[in-house]
Amino acid sequence: MAAPLEGIHVLDLSWVMVGPASARYLADMGADVIKVESSKRIDPVRTLGPFKDGKTGPERSVSYHNLNAGKRCVAIDIRHPEGREIVLRFAQWADVVLESFTPGVLETLHLGYSDLSQRNDRIIMASTSLLGQTGPYAQGTSGVGTMGAAMSGATHQIGWPDREPAGPWGPWTDAVTPRFIVASILAALHRRSRTGKGCYIDVAQAEAGIQFMLPAYYEYAANGTIPERRGVAGSPLQAPQGLFPCAGADRWIAIDASAPTAWEALRVVIGGDLRDAKFDTIIGRLRNRVELDAAIASWTQKQEAEAVEHRLQAAKVPSHVVSTSGDLVRDAHLLEARHLNKINDPVFGEADIEGPRFSLDRTAMAATRRGPRIGEHTKEVLAAVFGMSAAEIAQLGEAGVLA
């Protein structure tokens, strides 16, 4: 069966992570996604690792492929008047347009929603930026996902009390925001199929991040408590629950035996000090948490993390190795799910990238293909979409429009 978005055309004017990751969701669902990039101003994600075999180069970033799998790429200088006209013509072709410029830039280029919707009033256009398109600080504000994490209240809560906040890993809101963009676009596509109405969608990355932190926001808004960083994993209301060291450098196991049945099972597996009567009750385990954690750690630290996971899972104790990249590529679940897919790139050869984030049992998702090279499909797409002749395309090339 056809993938759910088969026949949907997406123009991806975005770069780095949030926009491209959103468009990747749509490509995975079968949409025809055309990424617009200029060799004069390449997607900065091409400067981010991992690079194949650690050697840098604009066509060697594997992260780029992970974010742009399954798309085609047309090289256009959108600041050139004829380049701008091509973008407007793509707007007539497109069902969905995504962009992540600093707010105000596209309007300056006369490529904002009002310009695009004039050509195609059914278009669904999504803009994403750190703070959104409206409000006192929106226009002209650029940002990255570490800033989104800081402004969503996440960074403040992750760290050791005796050190400055460490924050979440990486540009965190770049992973959170695409979910809200994609859900909004899909809802808009559903409405359009009934009403013919398109729309403009504005998603602020810092605001999207707050959604994943909402319980902590409520803690302040309802209780007046400002949640602070507290270091260790695990809830102060549940024990044992946390991370425990294993044999080897920086090896950890996450164990959550706070539920009574899991606790009894853990007690049987580890035995020893855990049999002490002071750990018999929930209140006892919380009051003696330091000793409890120490007793579990003294058992885990002599063993390999995988071995601990297997022994505890055999007893139905919730547990998992704190997975490293090496663990992930060997992971039985991910192998069975075929989550990693081999790509073969003409520039650097083979690498692994991730597959779709969910599966459907009737309408397949699109097969995972590598991302495009800069301008790889320019001629093919201009000929197929606009019926341009080779001579017209060559002329645009000479004029510097297709760079």
Binding site: D53, A188, Y220, N223, L340, D361
Partner: protein, 407 residues
């Protein structure tokens, strides 16, 4: 936008955000809980730090805009009522875990129904029977091992995250199946693995080995450049500020502007401020610059940050076009004029007579607005109403179900 879509959500921590996102986008979402209440009602924090079945703030945050019923899906009566209800809805969202089979497996559904199932790992295969909680699923995502300082244990979020990651992807998977159904009228099953959803936040940890790269190690928020520790988080007068220090022709200009301001504020030597920061890295090799210059810059910035408030530094960041933001706590978020004036917040009741403003509008639309139309349902709040309108049960029949413990 989804006003013709009707969703039954069999409540679990992982379904809560999925149902709420769909409800925010206009779907009619009915959450089904066991008679004793859903697991989400026992997740901290609690209103006024007093526990209670109606007091979980996590429940409230992730269930507004829904109606709620109770039903024992493991009983024969519960299954029969569920089958009848499902016939009137478009979507069922559930989370199945290893400890129990989905009660929905025994029910024959209409071919038009979209059934979205969230599992910790997968419905079948390796690890499908793993005992899991939010913490252990997050551990498997590849993100925590990269979070924090290498000399101490990795970090996890203080707010459960696997349920957020899985819930958000379940909303997307459900919508994908709805769009497929818009085309051919047929439903299907959508499967979301909480572990794979959470891997989104690992930023491709899994692609390192296959691209011929060593395993990355966590480094917290500090980079080492030319032997100098370059932090990204700086203590300021009333908290912390995130400041990105970068070099090169584009981003290096920000460092230049920042250095100039630090010198104006007498926190940095004029000579250091005048160094060509965009070309600093290249100039190291020709000895035009030295690591001690970078150290002087960092020391100057630390001193500058300490002398200013978050608000003053944020103002400077806008004026000097820096990649810098205040490290906001939830009070800062609640008071931030940008969020306020943009219309992020909507008001919701947390108990009778007590309303708070919450960040509700995760997206803004030219011709639709996310609103909070109703607070999270109280336990069984809409059971009688929904069983009467959807299933035509009489008042006597609804009472009979209650007496029997089915609702």
């Amino acid at each position: 936008m989804l006003d013709d879509v009707r969703v039954l959500e069999i409540s679990a921590p992982e379904t809560m955000l999925a149902g709420r996102m769909l409800a925010d986008l206009g779907a009619d979402v009915v959450v089904i809980e066991p008679p004793a209440g859903a697991a989400g009602r026992r997740i901290a924090p609690f209103l006024d730090d007093i526990p209670g079945i109606e007091r979980s703030l996590t429940w409230q945050a992730l269930n507004y805009n829904k109606r709620g019923v109770t039903l024992d899906l493991f009983s024969a009566d519960g299954k029969a009522l569920m089958r009848e209800l499902a016939a009137k809805f478009d979507v069922v969202i559930e989370a199945a875990d290893a400890s129990r089979q989905s009660p929905l497996d025994a029910i024959e559904f209409s071919p038009r129904l979209v059934r979205c199932t969230i599992t910790p790992f997968a419905r079948t295969g390796p690890k499908s029977e793993y005992a899991s909680t939010d913490l252990t699923v997050m551990a498997a995502s590849g993100a925590p091992v990269m979070t924090g300082d290498l000399d101490r244990s990795p970090f996890f979020f203080p707010v459960p995250q696997a349920m957020m990651e899985a819930g958000a992807d379940a909303a997307i998977a459900t919508l994908a199946a709805i769009l497929a159904r818009d085309g051919d009228g047929l439903g299907q099953r959508a499967d979301v693995s909480a572990r794979i959803a959470a891997m989104m936040g690992s930023f491709g940890q899994a692609i390192f080995p296959g691209s011929g790269n060593p395993e990355p190690k966590r480094t917290a928020s500090t980079m080492t450049i030319a032997g100098v520790q370059v932090p990204s988080v700086y203590e300021c007068a009333d908290g912390f500020m995130l400041i990105t220090i970068a070099f090169g022709p584009v981003f290096g200009q920000m460092t230049q502007r920042l250095a100039k301001w630090a010198a104006e504020e007498k926190r940095l030597d004029q000579r250091v401020a005048e160094i060509n920061w965009p070309s600093f890295i290249g100039d190291l090799s020709t000895k035009k610059t030295s690591p001690s210059d970078l150290q002087a810059l960092i020391d100057g910035l630390k001193s500058l940050a300490l002398s200013k408030s978050k608000a003053e530094l944020a103002e400077a960041s806008r004026r000097l076009r820096l990649l810098a933001s205040p490290v906001m706590n939830m009070k800062d978020v609640a008071e931030y004029i940008q969020y306020r004036e943009r219309g992020l917040f909507a008001s919701v009741s947390v108990e009778a007579g007590r309303e708070i403003d919450v960040p509700a509008r995760f997206a803004q639309f030219s011709n639709y607005s996310i609103e909070i139309k109703r607070p999270a349902p109280g336990l069984s709040e809409h059971t009688a109403e929904i069983f009467a309108t959807e299933l035509g049960l009489s008042k006597t029949e609804v009472q009979a179900l209650f007496v029997a413990g089915e609702i």
